[in-house]
């Protein structure tokens, strides 16, 4: 295997000053910070009922107070899905900007008001009279939704252009078979059949969903909003409001965290637009935190996983059944079921697979992707099952995984069953072996060997994510990115791309890629806000861990075209052929230089070439294009987590952890680490703290949307700095820009799994449901002691 060592790179993998100084000075502008003269402030009226018919909305009293209001009759009838990443034929559509017939969850937006101040808008909002009709009891649990007598959340929806009847609240389902699981189970010596449950989590991204919309004189709009993809927002708004895209300009603006909650156009965005168009004034809408918690949440997942294995540790079959209740709108349940299948199928060599997935409507805030998009949810059942199997087999869990993992040369499913590719780079073995050594895996002991009030345990889990959603042929998911790269008249460069940066270092990577290709110093490359849908070519979204592999892959492609143009111009200057010239970074000059091969002293700087092209009116050295990656190589993660369980109080802490990631070439080591550390904290939240239960009677969030009762990990929940080891595998992805893959979502996939496996190693109790709160742990310990007595 060829490995390009990072010493060969000028810029890739090296530390550079971060391009986000505004974030520490307070100058960085987020959507909620945008202020347009004469703007009105908007608030959204949210349904207090879970499932109820809207008969009439009367806002005359609110209007008398001077507010501009919108209700169901003020918004288009367009039925859409706010996430248009999937192709139209595979996209379910069930919503309008505001519901026209009934509400389907507490907190659903039903009307909105804008006024000179937020206080006035809110006072007016309280004067809106809603006449309600029939009310139905809320469907809160999965069992509620699967009850054949349950009230129908929808009678019909659309899939593409086809009308689809919704029966028994089934939103969609997916079934995939590979081989023959019955035969596979016959071959098995041991069969394990367990059910697991991962609950809904709220993303709790720090910036609540916001939008500022300015209506333009020509009937168009300019928009700043919380989004991971400005072009999809533009396309949707043009479609909904029947405005040509050339009149809609969505500005790219810094995003205060997302974790998947703004892949879709947020529900408040078209509401803000409708208000702005009606008021003919700019409108600013910032969601309250309590409104935000009703707006979106992660997909839960109930999994029944049956796996067969031979005595020698070879897997023979896996039957995976999943159920999920998706809330009041179907944002992306169909691809979710497909992705869950993909994450499951590509973790281990099951040999024979049967996957059955069902998604049901419920009366809760709609679920959407959350960092991993089903991977954390299915990783937990799989990695727990692998530990259960290895215990029954008497094989070490690390060895069992080494024996069965899907790796280099194997086929894997990229984000679902329809896209399959062969893995070309894989650090799984290196990470399992190294991690085991670093955590002292051999010394962890068995649960029943442990004693004392404080029990320590170590657990392992591994996961992965695809770098983007590309495949040999375009599939169910749209995935391409583009950029304009231009060399300025002084030799600096601009990278103009709609690619979003959530703070993970995507732009840093983009600038480094251009710097590496064009040999222009990193400091002289701009890649920043100040772009919008008008000035950029399409980028689907920064999601699916595609920022580096796809987004920067496209940037690299464009940069290489720019290099061709540069060398062509230089060739004219040197009166030679471009292939006889070389391009290199001259550190003393702080510039890139072009020189005739063999005569480096006869160089011309890029600045000189660009200036000459300018003064002779040859033109700008620039190129614009898009690129569709034809692969989505998996990036891998492995965690060895050590937990301490206090058996008197049920409290679980994590004193030590070894984190190992495989991203191929790592473009920004510090931010790469930051991704993994950040994901680890999120995963601990999943493991021991977070859930957003709904009340069965009222259909309301038990915490009412206040984070007083939605606790997330704080500084204290992470291990001490010296007890965290982060290592990377030494791999190189040949299809990635300079060998790079992603890491963002892979990093979350296996955290809670490693936590759960560690808990088992500590106390001998396997939890099939998360979070493992102190109350739940203590109760389980008590029940175990009672079982022992009997």
């Amino acid at each position: 295997m060829v490995l390009l060592e990072k010493e060969q790179f000028d810029v890739i993998g090296k530390r550079y000053d971060i391009k986000n100084i505004g974030k520490v000075t307070g100058e960085e502008i987020y959507s909620c910070d945008v202020n347009i003269p004469r703007q009105l402030f908007a608030v959204v009226l949210r349904s207090p009922y879970s499932h109820a018919e809207i008969k009439k909305i009367d806002y005359t009293e609110a209007e008398k107070m001077g507010a501009i209001c919108i209700g169901p009759d003020d918004v288009p009838d367009t039925l859409y899905n706010e996430r248009i990443v999937s192709i139209p034929d595979k996209t379910y559509r069930d919503r309008t900007v505001l519901p026209k017939d009934k509400v389907r969850h507490v907190g659903e937006a039903i009307a909105a008001c804008a006024a000179e101040t937020e206080e006035e808008a809110f006072a007016a909002l309280k004067k809106i009279k809603v006449e309600w009709g029939k009310k139905w009891k809320p469907l809160v649990t999965l069992d509620d939704t699967m009850d054949p007598n349950a009230p129908a959340v929808y009678d019909q929806v659309y899939l593409g252009e086809e009308k689809v009847e919704v029966k028994n609240n089934l939103a969609c389902d997916r079934n995939i078979t590979v081989g023959n699981v019955e035969e596979g189970f016959k071959e098995a010596d041991i069969i394990v059949d367990e059910t697991f449950n991962i609950k809904r989590i709220y993303h709790m991204q720090l910036e609540t969903k916001s939008a500022v919309c300015k209506p333009e004189a020509d009937g168009g709009i300019t928009l700043w909003t919380t989004t991971q993809g400005i072009h999809n927002v533009r396309i949707l708004l043009g479609h909904i409001f029947d405005i040509p895209l050339s009149k809609i300009n969505v500005k790219r603006i810094t995003l205060g965290g997302s974790f998947g909650s703004s892949i879709q156009m947020n529900s408040i965005t078209p509401i803000c637009v409708a208000l702005a168009l009606k008021a003919r004034r700019p409108v600013k809408l910032v969601t309250s935190r309590e409104g935000d918690m009703y707006d979106h949440s992660s997909y839960p997942l109930k999994t029944r996983l049956k796996v067969g294995v031979k005595k020698d540790g070879t897997l023979t079959a896996a039957h995976c059944q999943v159920w999920v209740e998706i809330g009041g709108h179907n944002i992306q349940a169909y691809p979710y079921l497909g992705c869950v299948a993909g994450w499951f199928a590509s973790l281990y060599k099951w040999k024979n697979i049967k996957y059955e997935g069902k998604a049901f409507y419920s009366n809760k805030g709609p679920s959407c992707a959350r960092r991993g998009y089903g991977s954390p949810q299915i990783n937990f059942p799989v990695e727990n099952t692998m530990d259960i199997l290895s215990e029954k087999l008497g094989i070490d869990p690390v060895h069992f995984r080494l024996q069965n993992y899907v790796g280099r040369g194997d086929e894997f499913w990229g984000q679902g069953p329809t896209v399959r590719s062969i893995i070309r780079s894989c650090g799984v073995e290196e990470m399992l072996v190294k991690g085991a050594e670093l955590i002292s895996w051999d010394k962890r002991g068995k649960p029943d060997e442990k004693s004392g009030v404080i029990r320590k345990g170590i657990g392992v889990a591994r996961g992965f994510h695809t770098s983007g959603t590309g495949g040999p042929h375009p599939g169910e998911v749209i995935d391409y990115s583009g950029a304009t790269v231009k060399i300025n008249e002084d030799g600096s460069a601009d990278v103009i791309t709609a690619l979003m940066d959530h703070g993970c270092g995507t732009w840093d990577a983009g600038a480094k890629v251009v710097a590496e290709v064009l040999k222009i110093p990193f400091e002289k490359i701009s890649i920043d806000n100040g772009v919008d849908t008008r000035t950029t070519v399409f980028d689907v979204n920064t999601h699916a861990t595609r920022g580096v592999y796809c987004g920067c892959g496209a940037i690299k492609f464009v940069a290489e075209k720019v290099k061709e143009i540069l060398l062509n111009y230089a060739a004219t200057l040197f009166e030679d052929r471009p292939e006889n010239l070389d391009l290199a970074l001259n550190k003393e000059l702080g510039q890139g230089v072009v020189y005739p091969k063999g005569l480096p002293e006869n160089y011309k700087t890029i600045g000189e070439i660009a200036e000459y092209a300018h003064t002779t009116s040859w033109g700008t050295i620039a190129y614009t294009s898009t690129l569709r990656q034809k692969n989505c190589p998996p990036c891998f993660i492995t965690y060895f987590t050590e937990v301490e369980v206090d058996t008197r109080t049920g409290e679980i802490t994590v004193p030590r952890v070894v984190m190992l990631g495989d991203s191929g070439t790592i473009i920004n080591p510090e931010l790469w680490k930051g991704q993994i550390l950040g994901a680890y904290a999120l995963g601990l939240g999943v493991g021991k703290l977070e859930s957003i239960p709904y009340d069965k009677v009222t259909g309301k969030l038990k915490c009412n949307g206040f984070i007083t009762d939605f606790k997330v990990p704080t500084t204290i929940d992470m291990p001490d700095i010296d007890n965290i080891i982060v290592e990377h595998a030494h791999t190189y992805e040949p299809t990635g820009p300079f060998g790079a893959k992603g890491i963002g979502e892979a990093a979350l996939s296996a955290v809670a799994s490693s936590f759960g496996n560690a808990v088992y190693n500590a106390v001998g109790i396997r939890f099939h449901e998360l979070p493992i709160t102190s109350e739940i742990m203590l109760k389980a310990l008590k029940e175990k002691r009672n079982r022992r007595k009997n």
Binding site: V43, L45, R46, P48, E118, E119, F122, A123, L125, K126, V286, S288, R289, E290, R648, T649, G650, L689, K702, C703, N704, F706, T708, D709, K711, V712, P713, T714, I716, D717, T773, S774, E775, L778, K779
Partner: protein, 294 residues
């Protein structure tokens, strides 16, 4: 009831007296006109934002300098609007009134402690209040003043239920008087919560006075286990006058849970609280006993 936590969505008259006399005058004037007292705001403003609590007159007493002091000459006298963070900076509090020190440190986070006041924590009268159990074990008295005069009330008698106190509409807590602490005494505060910056699932203050091997006096107060902070009087009686050893501590811990009446709520369960009451009492007594030796 829809809320909007971005703003404080109700109008009221704002009063900002500079002296205690001014404040008492205003209280007398508006005592029947829905007046509320603002100190730190970390409880009151949250309630005004998230519940249907309506206020017509809001009187900010945080800037009344005569109510902001810490007097360590005798016991500990704390002015009503002294920020919590200032209280824990005093060496005497840390050393002599350790449960109060630990109780305040266990609250929320530094910014909240800069804003919040001890009188506010008391008047908010949440069963989960972290300053209340420590203050009760020290036999704290509150000085209440109004235009009509002043009175001293034992903190233990002051809070009557969830959000309920015996304060009159024209009264203001002006001082928190914590008596002098005897030699050979110690105190401990313990708390269980979901994360460290959180309201308590259950909290506990233990106060012990030690004479050789004998427990001369003890006070045990739990929070978040009833409608108000609860003294475990039976268990106190069980320990008072006894030779303290681990066997006795274990017995005390076993029986204390019969004295508390916790419920299931969003933060925890009755079962867990009962279990924790035993563990915490054991830990609290052991620690307090060891501290009293020093």
């Amino acid at each position: 009831m829809q809320t909007d936590t971005k703003i404080l969505a109700q109008e009221f008259e704002y009063l900002a007296p500079k002296t205690l006399d001014e404040a008492l005058d205003l209280l007398d004037k508006y005592k029947n006109k829905n007046i509320r007292i603002l100190a730190g705001g970390t409880d009151l403003l949250v309630k005004m934002k998230t519940t249907d609590l309506k206020v017509d007159y809001l009187m900010n007493i945080k800037d009344i300098s005569e109510l902001n002091f810490i007097d360590i000459r005798q016991g500990l006298i704390i002015g009503a609007v002294t920020p919590l963070s200032h209280i824990i900076r005093k060496e005497k509090v840390r050393v002599k009134y350790t449960a109060l020190y630990e109780g305040i440190k266990a609250m929320a986070a530094p910014s909240i402690r800069n804003m919040g006041t001890i009188a506010g924590n008391i008047c908010n009268a949440s069963p989960a209040a972290d300053t209340v159990p420590p203050l009760i074990v020290y036999r704290t008295e509150l000085k209440l003043q109004s235009k009509r005069g002043e009175r001293n009330v034992l903190l233990e008698d002051f809070i009557t239920g969830v959000g309920k106190t015996i304060i009159e509409p024209d009264e203001l807590i002006t001082q928190i008087n914590i008596p002098k602490i005897n030699k050979n005494t110690s105190s401990v505060f313990l708390k269980k919560s979901r994360v460290k910056a959180d309201l308590s699932k259950i909290n506990l203050a233990v106060y012990l006075e030690r004479e050789g091997n004998v427990c001369k006096d003890c006070k045990i107060v739990f929070g978040s286990v009833a409608i108000k902070a609860l003294r475990a009087e039976k268990t106190e009686g069980f320990l008072k006058g006894q030779i303290i050893n681990s066997e006795l501590i274990n017995k005390a811990a076993k029986q204390v849970s019969s004295e508390i009446k916790p419920i299931d709520d969003i933060r925890s369960t009755a079962e867990y609280r009962i279990a924790m009451s035993k563990e915490m009492l054991k830990d609290g007594l052991e620690l307090a006993w060891a501290r009293a030796k020093d």
